[in-house]
Symmetry: D2
Subunit: 157 residues, 4 copies
């Protein structure tokens, strides 16, 4: 059920999309705070990983659902950004997250993927895998709508 990468399908409009995303990722200070790592950037598909840390857990020792959401929201947002024009940015409109198994693992991998690109709205989907046991297990699925915005608007605050 892993989302198949579709990089052959999508043509990036900005040849510098990867460096643009890596720059942006470093300005997401929350990623340094929680320990998120940008693993790979392809047109329409972005992967972020996060090592397990007790400091990010809820009361039963699982990674808090909000932290699971943090990495997969960023992965989906950057997947959308990878297909947008130079000078454009992306904001999350809404998402749904299904927490299909407790977030137990040594490491977590979030994959965001564009389902349908668009200048105004971009539909994305994501998933989060727990790594480190005998096998990888799917722990969450996200369905997210992203909105393209002028980067200037994003920066003005």
């Amino acid at each position: 059920m892993e989302i198949s990468t579709a990089s052959s399908v999508f043509e990036p409009r900005d040849p510098a999309f990867e460096s643009r995303i890596r720059d942006s990722f470093h300005r997401q200070f929350v990623m340094a705070t929680i320990g998120g790592e940008l693993q790979s950037v392809e047109p329409g598909v972005v992967c972020i990983e996060l090592p397990f840390r007790k400091e990010l857990c809820q009361q039963h020792g699982f990674l808090h659902a909000g932290i699971v959401t943090t990495i997969v929201d960023s992965a989906c947002g950057y997947a959308a950004l990878s297909l947008s024009e130079p000078g454009r940015g992306v904001l999350t409109v809404e998402y749904k997250v299904s927490l299909i198994a407790p977030a137990r693992g040594e490491r977590f991998r979030a994959i965001g993927k564009v389902l349908k690109p668009g200048g105004t709205l971009c539909f994305t989907e994501g998933e989060v895998w727990a790594l480190g046991g005998e096998e990888e297990s799917l722990i969450a699925r996200m369905s997210a709508t992203m909105m393209g915005i002028a980067e200037e608007r994003k920066r003005k605050d």
Copy 2:
């Protein structure tokens, strides 16, 4: 559009519900990490606040949507827990979050509220307000399904 408190409607099944929730909140280590504060606990309604911190932001200086989700998910989960029987716990099944405005503010208030209680499933709704400007503004709405579980199962890991 603020969710009206309905504490008069719901009768807690565990007279010690508040101390149970405060104990659990202290075991949510992610709350200490991000600076979340448990403000109030009523039957079916829980409020958590979070001061703004740059270390929790995305690339434009807004609070990351995943952190917004973290506090409102916990507020909704504890709202559900406030109505559950002694010895029972709660896990989040799924949620949808609408990010209706950028998370800009000095402080954020998440309110979780039970829409319909139940032993197996509990429907909750939440909202997040940005505080500190001229006026409070609603920045996010959550619709979340919680599942009741035996607390033992939660602790076994």
Copy 3:
């Protein structure tokens, strides 16, 4: 928990908003097919009702969730349309529906309400009530994102 009407808050941009919505409703042929009735149109709040019919049920004699969704999606869409400029239309981007109780009743009332208006995106919320028993009961809640479009685009098909 009923959504409070906020008609005093919202100022319609098109003085003919009500007739525009009533015209559009009559072109929603699915409403005639299922028996939906447009009850009231206020700025930002629209109500649609539907009498129970066996022909709209699932296998246990409840109204099918998709039919519940049909009336509350239209109510939310028209709530958004009531605040849009003349010549603009509305399309549904996405929704989440929580089915908090079986759709059992003699009649169903869907109320759609604007949470946050906007030219590009409009956030709405809806609810569905079952009528006809001893008391009204809330059976569903919707959270929906609507997108404003040029009416010409909508008509071109």
Copy 4:
């Protein structure tokens, strides 16, 4: 991006799962009303089709989103039912639907698939394709939570 069938992965608990679903489908009177056709039933994957009819449309001549939802909700529900034990039924708890393109076509195909089975809760995903033009196009995606129930409870009303 079509959901890969995973029938080899899931083992049905009721050898009569297909006839059970076909019987139930015939009791979903809404399906006869709108013209829904049960195409295929495999363990964990169910397909329902619907020919285009003007009587099911919204104001621009597209299939109403609620009707799109009706067929994909049933497909997801029956996908969950295909893996449940004899004598058990299924109710929809909640779903999110992303309407990624207008529902324009001669025919619509809804595919529901189990993401994670379970006795209490079953996570499913669905998609709807428009058929009949030059090529098939994906018009909607669903993420739905189903709840297992005793069939007796479902019938008692």
